[in-house]
Subunit: 491 residues, 4 copies
C-alpha cells in the first residue's frame, strides 16, 4: 500500500507525520493508498512555506512571458495523460470516466487562460497626469499562496488557482483533499517535468492541521478554498484574522426553474444531468426543480423519466451514467436527509436508497431520487444534500419562483428553461445568484469568467478564474514619476 509523499522544493519527500488515513475507492471500498494525516503535517507545511518563500525571490523576477512557458507544457502533458488521470479520478472520487475527463478539460481551459497572463497582468499607464508627471500601475505577485481543494473535483479545482498564481509570479502550495489525493499526485508528476524552478509549486498532504498551519503562517499571503459553507466561513474568518487575502467558496442549493414554454424533452434531459451528474456532488448541481404552470404534469413526467433511466454503477464501466457518493458517511447522511424529507411530508416518487450495483455491493451507491410535495418551509428545502436527490416544487408564477430562489441563503447558481426572451431576461436580472443559466443545466463559467458565487456560497470579493484570478494573485503598485525637464542635463 503506497504511503503518499509530499512534493516540496522540487522533490518527493516523506511526511514527518507517521499517522495516516486511507484513500478508499468509493465504488468498492478498495484501499488505494495511505495519506499522512495528523499534527505533524503542519511541520510539512512549514517546510513547504519556507521552500516556496525562497523560490519566490527569483520566480517573481522571471519575465511573465517566460513564467507561462511551463504552463504551455502542462497543457500538452495533461492532454496526453487525460485518460490515465481520469481513471485515477474515477477510482478515488467515484464519478464516471466521462465526467472525469470533462473536469480535466475544464482544468486545461484554466491553464490556457493563465497562459494569457502576459496580457492580463498589464496595467494602466497615464502620461502627463500633471505636466512632467506620469503615473502607472504595476501588478506584482504576493508571495506564497495556498490552496485547499475539495474531494469532488480533484483534477479541476487546483487548476482554478495554481496556473494563475504562478503565472503572476507567486509560489504555491496545494493541500488536496485527503479523500482524493492521488489525482494531484499524478498531476504533480507532470508538474515536475515542465521546467519550473524548485519550490514554485508544492504539494502537502493532511487535514485540518495543515489548513490551520496555512492560515496562521505569516509568510502565506493568500488562501484559496473550495468546500462547504461552514468551512469556507471558518477559512475566511481565520485567514482574515491573520491579515491575509482570502477567497473561500462554499456550498449551494441550486434551483432550476422550468417554464412550460421550454422544450420539454431536451430540458428534462439536461436537468437530470445537472441533478445527477457527479452523483449530485458538485457545487453547481441542481437540486430544487421548480415548475410553474405545469398543470398537466408534463414537466414532472418528463423529468421523472429522464431520471429513471440513469444507469448507476462503477464509473470505469461502460455505459455507466452515475457513480457512487464519496463515502459511507456521506451515503448515510444523504439517506437521513431523504428520511427527513419524508418526515416533513414529502413523497419519494423515485427512491434510490438501497440501490445495489452487482459486483459492487459494498459501494456507496444511491440511485436517482425524487422528492415531491416537500413543504416549502421544510428546512430541507434550503439544505445542501450533495447527493443524487431532486426536489420537485410547483409555484404559481415566475415572480414567485424568483422570490423563492432569492430567499435562499446560498447564491451559487440559478437556472431557467424557457423559450421566452422576456422571461429569461427578467430571471437573469433579478435572481440573487452569481452563476446564471438560461437553458443551461450546469452554469459553470468558462475560464475567462469568474466563478461567481454569491451570499453564503462565497466569502471574499475576487473569485477564481480569469481576470479575477490575476487580480487576486497580484497586488497593485502605483508609481508616480516626476522627471522635471530642467533636470535633463546640458553637456
Amino acid at each position: 500500500m503506497e504511503l503518499l509523499k509530499n512534493y516540496i522544493d522540487g522533490s518527493w519527500t516523506s511526511s514527518i507525520e507517521e499517522n495516516t488515513k486511507e484513500v478508499i475507492n468509493p465504488a468498492n471500498q478498495q484501499i488505494l493508498a495511505r495519506v499522512p494525516f495528523g499534527k505533524g503535517t503542519s511541520k510539512d507545511l512549514e517546510k513547504a512555506v519556507l521552500a516556496a518563500q525562497v523560490a519566490f525571490h527569483d520566480w517573481k523576477n522571471v519575465p511573465v512571458m517566460q513564467r507561462v512557458q511551463p504552463l504551455y507544457k502542462l497543457k500538452t502533458l495533461l492532454e496526453e495523460n487525460t485518460d490515465q488521470i481520469a481513471r485515477i479520478i474515477t477510482m478515488e472520487c467515484g464519478k464516471t470516466f466521462a465526467e472525469s475527463k470533462g473536469e480535466l478539460q475544464r482544468a486545461i481551459e484554466n491553464i490556457e487562460t493563465a497562459c494569457s497572463t502576459p496580457t492580463l497582468i498589464q496595467s494602466e499607464f497615464s502620461e502627463n497626469v500633471a505636466r512632467g508627471v506620469d503615473e502607472f500601475m504595476i501588478r506584482q505577485p504576493l508571495g506564497v499562496c495556498c490552496c485547499i481543494s475539495p474531494f469532488n473535483f480533484p483534477g479541476m479545482i487546483p487548476f482554478w488557482f495554481l496556473p494563475y498564481a504562478i503565472a503572476c509570479g507567486n509560489t504555491f502550495i496545494l493541500k488536496p483533499s485527503e479523500k482524493v489525493p492521488l489525482t494531484m499526485m499524478k498531476c504533480f508528476e507532470l508538474l515536475d517535468q515542465i521546467g519550473l524552478p524548485k519550490g514554485v509549486v508544492n504539494l502537502v498532504h493532511g487535514g485540518k492541521e495543515t489548513v490551520d498551519a496555512m492560515l496562521e503562517h505569516p509568510l502565506v499571503k493568500a488562501i484559496s478554498f473550495v468546500g462547504s459553507t461552514e468551512v469556507a466561513r471558518y477559512i475566511y474568518q481565520k485567514g482574515s484574522a491573520y491579515g491575509k487575502r482570502v477567497q473561500a467558496q462554499g456550498g449551494a442549493k441550486n434551483p432550476i426553474l422550468i417554464l412550460p414554454d421550454a422544450d420539454l424533452d431536451l430540458s428534462s434531459k439536461i436537468i437530470a444531468d445537472s441533478v445527477f451528474g457527479c452523483a449530485g456532488q458538485r457545487c453547481l448541481a441542481a437540486s430544487n426543480i421548480i415548475t410553474v404552470g405545469d398543470e398537466n404534469g408534463l414537466v414532472k413526467d418528463s423529468i421523472y423519466h429522464a431520471s429513471l433511466t440513469k444507469k448507476t454503477g462503477y464509473g470505469l464501466d461502460e455505459g455507466i451514467e452515475m457513480g457512487p457518493v464519496i463515502s459511507k458517511e456521506s451515503k448515510s447522511r444523504i439517506e437521513q436527509l431523504i428520511q427527513i424529507g419524508e418526515r416533513d411530508g414529502a413523497k419519494v416518487i423515485l427512491d434510490g436508497r438501497n440501490h445495489k450495483v452487482p459486483g459492487f455491493e459494498n459501494g456507496n451507491f444511491l440511485a436517482p431520487t425524487i422528492l415531491e410535495d416537500l413543504p416549502i418551509k421544510s428546512e430541507l428545502m434550503k439544505t445542501e444534500i450533495f447527493g443524487p436527490v431532486l426536489t420537485l416544487l410547483t409555484l404559481k408564477s415566475l415572480d414567485d419562483a424568483i422570490e423563492f430562489i432569492n430567499s435562499n441563503h446560498y447564491g451559487n447558481m440559478a437556472c431557467i428553461f424557457t423559450s421566452s426572451g422576456a422571461s429569461a431576461r427578467k430571471f437573469r436580472n433579478e435572481v440573487n445568484s452569481g452563476n446564471v443559466g438560461i437553458n443551461i443545466g450546469v452554469a459553470a463559467p468558462m475560464a475567462q469568467f469568474p466563478f461567481s458565487g454569491w451570499n453564503n456560497s462565497f466569502f471574499g470579493d475576487l473569485h477564481a478564474q480569469g481576470r479575477h484570478g490575476i487580480e487576486f494573485y497580484t497586488q497593485t503598485k502605483v508609481v508616480i514619476e516626476r522627471w522635471p525637464k530642467e533636470w535633463s542635463r546640458k553637456f
Copy 2:
C-alpha cells in the same frame, strides 16, 4: 451650541442618543458643535440601514447613466462651495486653508472618475462559447455599503467611496469621525440638493458603537475604512467574521530616499512639504528621510533649512504653512514619542515642542521637528508618529536603503529623489510599498488608480478609487445563455 443631526432617509433627524462629544477647533480649543456619541447611536445606524435597504430596491434598477447625473451636480456644487467647506475643514481639523482646498480637489476628482461608471461598470461578453451559447458578465450592486472615515481628511476620504458606491447602484451610510463631523454636515447639505432618492446616502454620527453596529448588521454588505492599522485590523477581522467584504486602510511609516544626484533645493522643499504638510497627519506623510552618500551633509542641510522656515499657525491665517495637530492627546503623544527618540539616542536638531503661536496659545501646535542619529533598531524607526516629526537616517547604498524600507511592516508609500533612471527603476521595482514616488513627495494616486497600501497599511484586496472601487462595490454575475436554433419557431 449646535447639536448635530443625522441624515437618514433624506431627512435631518435627531439622534436617539442623548450623550454627546464636543467638536473642537484644534487651533484654539473653541467648541464648534456637539456630536451624538454613545450606545444609542447604534439604533440610529439601524434606522439608516433599513432606510438604505428600502432605497436599494429602486436605486439598483435606475440605469447607471441616470445614477451618475447627481454626481455631475455634486461636482459643480463642491466647486462652488469649495472655500466655505475648506474653511470648515480648517476649523475642525486644523490644516491650512490651502491644504483644505487641496483635499477637496481630490474629492472632486474622485467624483469625476465615478462619473465614468457607465463605462467602467461594463463587463465582458463572449459570443459562441459553444455553438449557440453566449456567456457574459454583469456587475450588480451589493446593497447597503458603509464607510467609516478618519479625522485627517474629512472632506476627501468619504468621497473615495461614496461616489463609486452609489454610481454602482448601492446605497450608502457614512460615519464621519466624531472629531471632524462638520465638513460632512456641509457636504450632506449639498448631497441633499442633487436629486438623489431618499435613503440612497445617509450620515450617522457616533463612535465605536456605530461602527460595531455596522459590522454586525446582516444587511450591510461592504465596509470601507481608513484609519490606524490597529483599528483597520479590527474592522477587517470583525467585518470578515460577519461574512462581509471589507477594505481597511491602516497606518504607515513612509520613507523617502534622497540620492546625491537629485536636485537638492527642489527635492528638499518637496520633502519638507511631505513631512510637515497637514502637520504630518496623513497616511502618505513622509517620516523617515534616508540619505545615501551624503558625505558633506548637503542633503541634510538642505532639508534642515526647508524645515526651519515652515511657518506654523492657524490654518485660516494668511501665510501659514502648517497648522496644529488634531488634539491635546495627540500633541502629547507626539511629544512623548520625540522623548522616546531622545532616550533611544537621537539628537533633536530641530525641536518643535513647546511651540507657541501668538493668539493661539491653547492650540495643539508643534513646529517642525527633526531627529538625527536615531539608532536603526529603535522601535521609533517603525512607529507611526502622525505628527510633524522627521527622522534623518544615513545608509550606505541604495541596496541598504531598500532593505531597510522593506523591513518595515507597513507599506503605504516609498519615495526616491534621484536624477538616475536606473536607480529610480530599481527602487520602484523592488520596494515593498503600494504607492511609490519618483521625485514626488506625496505619492497619492490619481482617482483613476487604486490607493494601494501594502502589508499592514491595508487589509483586503480591492482598494479605494477607480476600477478597484467599481469592482469592490459590485458583485459579478455570470450568465450563460443557450438559445438553440431549433427553438426558433416556424410560423
Copy 3:
C-alpha cells in the same frame, strides 16, 4: 439677414468668400440666414488649420484631467440651453421639437463619455518584459482633426467627435452642413464660454471646397464624416490617398423583421416611430418592414394604423409627430422614388404625397407612405429613400428574412421584434449589420459603444463614440525602457 461667420482661433471672423447660400426653414421656406459658400472657403479652412496647429502645441501637453474640465461646463450649458438649441434645430432642419431635444440628449451623453477620457486614454504597462526592461504604451493626440457633419442631426453628430478629439489633446475643425449651420453657431457660442484655449475648436462654413481643402491639407491628420455612402466613399478614398486616417459613415437601408410572436400593438408603434421619426431622414430609420407568417395580415394592419395616425406638420407646433423633409429637391426625389416603386409593381396603400399642412403650404411635407407588393428584385428595395416611406415585405421564414437582409450592400441597422429568445439570438448572431435591435426600433448605440455601421454603411475600422473614439483620435506610442541595475550609481 444674418451672414454667418466662422469661428477661428477663438474669434468670430468673416469668411473670405463673398458668395453665399441661403439657410432655409423647410417648413415654410423662410430664409433664416446666409452661409459662405464657394471657393474662398478653402482659404478660411487654411486659416483654421493653422490656428488649430498652433493651438495643438500647447493643448496636447495640458493634462487630460484638465482637458476634460471644459466638457463638464459644456454639458451644463447644453442642458441649460436645450430648449433654445432644439428650437433652432427644428427651424432649420424640420424635425419636431421633441426630436430635436432627443438628439441633444444624445450629444450630451457623448460629452459625458468623453469626460471619462482620463480613464479611457490609459494604456498598458508591462513590468519586466525582460529582466530590467519595462514596456508600456502611451496614447498621444494626432494634431488637427476635422469633421464634416450632415444635415439630419445638426446638434448631435458634431458631438460624436468633437468631445473625444479635444479630450485626447487634438484640436478640431468642424464644417457643419451648409443646410443647417445655425445649430452649431449657437453651440459654438457656448463652446466659446467654457475656457478652451484659442484655436482648440474651430468652425468653418462651406461646401465641397472646404471639404477638399480638409482632405488635402497636410496638417490635417484625421477626418470624420457622416453622410451618404457616395460621399463617404469619396471622403475615405481621398482622405486615404492623402495618407490620413478616416472614418466615414454612409447611408443605409434598414430592415425590421417582425415575427407573429411579438406584441403587435407595442411593436407597431415602435416601428412606425422608427420609420417616420425625423421624417425618415436618419441613418437608423427603418425602411423595409419584413413580416413572416403574417397570414391574417395582423402585423400589416397594426403597422398601417400606427402609420396612419402620425400627425405631420411644423415641428414647433404642439402635437406634431413628423416634420417636413429637408428641401424641395429632397421632397421631389422621394416622390420620384415612390413613383418608381409603383412602376415596379408596388401598391401605395398609404400615400403621403401631396400632403398639405394648413399654414405651411410651401413646406416640404410628405405624410407617411406605405408601399406593398414591391417585388423583392426591385432596385428600390435596396435604395436609400431618406424619407417617410415604408416598404412592407412578406417572407416565408426567419432564414429567408436573414438571407434577404444580408443580401443588402448596406449594414447599418437590422432589427427584429419577437418574444422568442432563440429567434432573437439567431438573428443577432447571423445578421450582417453593425447595429442590431431586439424589440428596438432605432438601435442607436449608447455613447459608450461604437456606432457600428458595416459594409457600405461605413468605411474605415474605428467608429464614432466611446473607446473607438479614443482610439481613433490618438496614436499609440510604445516605449521600451532598459534601466540596467548596474547603471544605478554608487556614491
Copy 4:
C-alpha cells in the same frame, strides 16, 4: 530545381502561371527554387479567395476556444522545427542563423498572444441602459483577410497577422515575398498539420499581379502589408479605394541619440547591433546616430570600434555576425547611396564597400560602413538606406536632437541612450515616433503591444500585434435588446 506550389484549400497545387522567378541565396547566388511569377498568379489568388470564402462560413462559427487550439500546436511545431526553419531563412534571406532564430522567437510570441484571443475578443456588456434594455457588443470576423509580407523577416512578419486573423474567425491568404518564399513553404507544411479546416489558411505566390488581385477582389475585406513606404502608400490608397480596411507599414530612417551620461561600452555595442543587425535590413534598424556633447569623441570612438569588429560572412557559418544584403541590386543601390553621401560632403570613416568574404566571392556582401560629417541638409540624412550604413551626426543639445528627429517624415523608431531619467522622459514624451527605446537599440514591441509606426512609416490606424490585431480583424456589432417584463408570459 523545385518549382514552388501554392497552398490553397488545404492542398498543395501548381500555379496556373508558367513564368517563374528564381529564389537566390544572397551569400553565394545559388538558385534555391523557382517561384510562379506573372499575370496568371492573379487567377491563383482568385481560387484562394473563393476557397477562403467558403471556409469562412464554417470557421466563423467555431467557438473561439476551439479556433485557438491549432495555434497551440503551431507553437509547439515551430519550437521543434526552429533550427530547420532558421536555416532556410538564412539561406534565402542572408541573415545570420542566430538572427533567424531570433525572428522565429518573435513569431512564436505572436502565436502565444493570439492564443489569448478568447479573452481579448471579449467585448462590453451593459445591463439596464434603460429599464429592461441591455446593450452589448460582439466582435465578429470580417471574412477573407490578406497579407503581403516583405523579404526581410520571412519567418516573423506573416505571424504578426495570420494567428490573430484566424483566431478571430477570419480566413487568410498570405503572399510571401517572391525573394524569400521558402520559409513560408516550410511553415505551411506545419500549418497543414495542426488541424485547421481546409481553406482557413492559404499561400499564393507571385508579385504585383497577385497584390493587385487582392486589393481589387470584393471578397477580400482586409489587407495587411509591410514593406517600403512607397508601396505601403500604394496599398493603402488602392485598398481604401476598394473600400477595405488596410494597415500598411512602410519604411523608416531611425535615429539613436546617445548622451555622454550613458554607459559608453554597453551602449555602443547595442547601437552597432541595431545598425548592422540583419545587415541593416530591418524597419527598426538604427541609421542616424546622434551625439550631443561628445566633445572628446568618446562616443564616436566607441561606436567605431564596436562597428569595426563585426564579422561579416555567410550566416550559417560559425561566428558570423552579419550576412549579405538581399540582392545584387540592393547592394549596388546601397553603394550608390554611400557615394551620394560622399558627394554631399560626408567622410567614409569605415568603408564596407568591396568587402570580400573568402569562399563567398559572389555574395552580396557589404561590411559595416560609417559616414561622418554628412551635412544635415543632405537628402541622404532622410533616405532609408536599408543596408549596413551608419551616419554619425553631432548636435548641440537634446532639444536640437528632438527637433532634428521630428523633422523626419518617417516615425518608426527613435531611441536614446542616457542614464538620466529626466532626459529619457523628455525624449519619450516629445519624439514623433511610435516605437521608442530608452537604452534599447531595437525598440520592437512585444507581441502584447502594437507595432506602432507613425507618419510615413504607417498608413492606417490599427497596427499589427496584440489588441490592435484583434480590433483590426474583427468588426463590432452592437446589440440593443429590449425584453419588456410584460412580455414574460403567465401560464
